[in-house]
């Protein structure tokens, strides 16, 4: 007959989560080193090859500027990255800033609702915690997060939290002065740089939380800037090119990456029978964008920091040149005899 001890009795009485909702320490180590696998395990979602690459860049590099074009899936990877950092790293808070809170609610925070209702993301949902109390002006939403007028917050069972504060960009984000996080994402940073000095004056300094090893590629604090590319005369360009110079100087903790809608591949997506290209690439939107100003599309669509400017040679003058050539019977030739035979 086995002897009953207080500790064994406690262990029997304490409810244990089901096996599929438990993560062993060996599994945790593996997930910590492979964010793409962690995204699959926690959220059940499948990433395209370039999105997986992007997530790995965010995970392993402490300062990343992502200049990818619109429609290239930046926001979902932001969500996965920030949530995984809060889930897997102890004593680790994260924050994301948008130019306006409303934009963030519609584009980023909506993923909490989507994944809360997704049976494949039960491990993630099981890790969302509820606060012990909700402050005045806040309400606990059905997606498991707290919605305040100034800040949306997601609490995790390990004590970490993910915040999306109202940025108060016009006031150089003075209201963020007391915030301290370990991982920071600044969405639409080019727009914020155009509007104010909020990034330099406040936002970068928020990423100052204590970490286990500030120089480590994973444990150290991370900051990610995401926005589609602009032209080189944009107010955000100096930050991008200063970052580029650091990379050229050999700094391994910085990365500038850029993807576009063209990177969606033929790999199978979560939609049955469809590839990522078929499911995610909106051809009508792309065609509309391509037909506009090429300089703008270079940044918006393709994620390339190009120059803005006027065409140096007018199309009308070139067309006149073709017309003159036609009147002269000009045709290409492989040699002198061929060129001169009809002239």
């Amino acid at each position: 007959m086995s002897s009953l001890t207080l500790s064994s009795l406690k262990a029997e009485l304490q409810p244990r989560p089901p096996r599929e909702l438990r993560v062993t320490s060996a599994e945790w180590e593996a997930l910590l080193c492979d964010p793409v696998m962690a995204a699959r395990v926690f959220f059940g979602g499948r990433l395209d090859a370039f999105q997986a690459c992007r997530l790995r860049y965010y995970w392993w590099t402490q300062s990343v500027i992502d200049s990818s074009g619109v429609g290239s899936g930046k926001t979902i990877v932001d969500f996965l990255f920030l949530c995984l950092r809060c889930l897997l790293i102890p004593k680790h808070d994260g924050a994301i800033f948008y130019p306006s809170l409303g934009t963030g609610i519609q584009s980023f925070w909506d993923y909490f609702r989507q994944f809360s209702g997704n049976p494949a993301a039960k491990l993630f949902v099981s890790q969302l915690g509820n606060p012990l109390k909700v402050d005045a002006g806040e309400e606990l939403d059905g997606d498991g997060t707290v919605h305040g007028s100034e800040c949306y917050t997601a609490y995790f069972r390990n004590g970490n939290k993910l915040l999306m504060p109202a940025p108060s960009i016009a006031l150089d984000s003075v209201r963020a002065a007391s915030l301290t996080v370990n991982t920071l994402i600044i969405e639409e940073w080019a727009q914020i740089d155009k509007m104010s000095d909020a990034i330099d004056k406040q936002l970068i300094d928020r990423c100052r939380g204590a970490s286990w090893n500030q120089h480590h590629a994973i444990w150290g604090n991370h900051i990610v800037y995401t926005a589609h590319a602009q032209n080189r005369t944009h107010p955000a360009a100096p930050r991008y090119f200063a970052h580029q110079r650091k990379i050229h100087a050999g700094n391994p903790m910085c990365a500038n990456i850029s993807y576009s809608y063209k990177d969606f591949s033929d790999l199978p997506s979560d939609a049955p029978g469809k590839s990522f290209k078929q499911h995610r690439r909106n051809e009508v939107t792309i065609a509309t964008g391509e037909s506009g100003d090429p300089a703008v599309w270079l940044g918006r669509g393709l994620g390339i920091w190009g120059v803005s400017g006027a065409g140096w040679f007018s199309e009308e003058a070139i067309v006149e040149g073709i017309k003159r050539g036609k009147e002269a019977g000009l045709l290409p030739a492989l040699g002198k005899n061929q060129f001169e035979e009809k002239r």
């Binding site: 080189r232 005369t233 090429p294 300089a295 270079l298 190009g306 120059v307 803005s308 400017g309 006027a310 065409g311 140096w312 040679f313 007018s314 199309e315 003058a317 070139i318 006149e320 040149g321 073709i322 003159r324 050539g325 036609k326 002269a328 000009l330 045709l331 290409p332 030739a333 492989l334 040699g335 002198k336 061929q338 060129f339 001169e340 002239r343």
Partner: protein
């Protein structure tokens, strides 16, 4: 009668070694706008000429050309077009033009796969003239300090110095090209897709190379439209951005190899106009004559 003179422009992409794996060659033909009387001197100014684009060829990474093969193909074109009057190759940093120039100094060239003895084509620098005794000094490298290029676009302060910066040379050449476009000097063959569709009988006996020349020339003028000058907004107006030396900043939205090869061909024409060779009417066996 109207003499026709041929010029070559070449833009070779950056290469890490002698293997220049991407680039374009364009041939232009210059013809006086009007008939010349017998013994009449050739016109001195570019607006008295037509500059017709006659041929274009692109080499990319699939061809994997070495500098020697590049040089050999230039000699093939030189033979086909009865001898170029001048040629300009890009000599940008890291470009393959320098390697091609060196390969062209040899008297043995690989032409159409066969080794042939030729009169070498060299540039006009003192070093080349000392290195090669008998040659045709019609090659110009598109950079400051090249004698041919400096003769057209010297330092505005006078003397024998070159322009102060590379961006000033680029600004000057692109301005000259824009002026040529405005004056109606430049002419192109018709747009490739439209011509090939509307004239199937005419192209029935065309070589593939000739069809591709037409397509490349079409791509070339389309690439010209992609060359932009950087601007910034001030008081609602778009102002051209300049460097510290006052040159405009140019950039391209996309590829520009054929466009720049065409610009270099026109540059070769301008170098020829400036040089001494044309002051006398050309002899019959050096230039092609086409009577009407």
């Amino acid at each position: 009668m109207r003499p026709i003179l041929y010029f070559l422009g070449g833009d070779t992409a950056p290469s890490e070694n002698q293997r220049s794996d991407d680039g374009a060659l364009v041939v232009g033909a210059a013809t006086p706008r009007r008939e010349l009387a017998p013994g009449e001197a050739l016109p001195r100014f570019e607006h008295d000429w037509f500059f017709d684009y006659a041929y274009a060829r692109v080499f990319n990474s699939k061809h994997r050309l070495e500098a020697r093969q590049w040089a050999g193909f230039i000699y093939v074109l030189d033979q086909r077009f009865g001898g170029f009057a001048q040629m300009v190759l890009d000599a940008g940093s890291g470009g393959g033009g320098v390697f091609v120039k060196r390969a062209m100094m040899s008297t043995e060239q690989l032409m159409d796969g066969a080794l042939r003895t030729v009169v070498p084509i060299c540039d006009k620098t003192v070093e080349s003239q000392q290195a090669v005794g008998h040659a045709r000094f019609i090659l110009n490298m598109f950079k400051r300090g090249d004698p041919g290029v400096d003769s057209v676009w010297p330092d505005p302060n006078g003397g024998t110095k070159s322009l102060a910066g590379d961006e000033l040379l680029k600004d000057a050449v692109l301005c000259a090209y824009k002026e040529a476009l405005r004056l109606g000097v430049l002419r192109w063959p018709p747009e490739a897709d439209e011509f090939l569709k509307m004239n199937p009988e005419a192209i029935r006996h065309w070589d593939q190379e000739r069809i591709w020349a037409l397509k490349n020339l079409t791509v070339g003028w389309k690439q010209l439209i992609n060359i932009v000058v950087e601007t910034y907004e001030k008081d609602g107006l778009q102002i051209e951005a300049t460097t510290s030396r006052g040159a405009r900043r140019f950039s391209t939205l996309g590829k520009d190899d054929i466009a720049y090869a065409g610009i270099y061909a026109y540059t070769a024409f301008r170098v020829w106009l400036q040089g001494e060779e044309f002051e006398q009417p050309p002899e019959e066996d050096l230039a092609g004559f086409a009577g009407r």
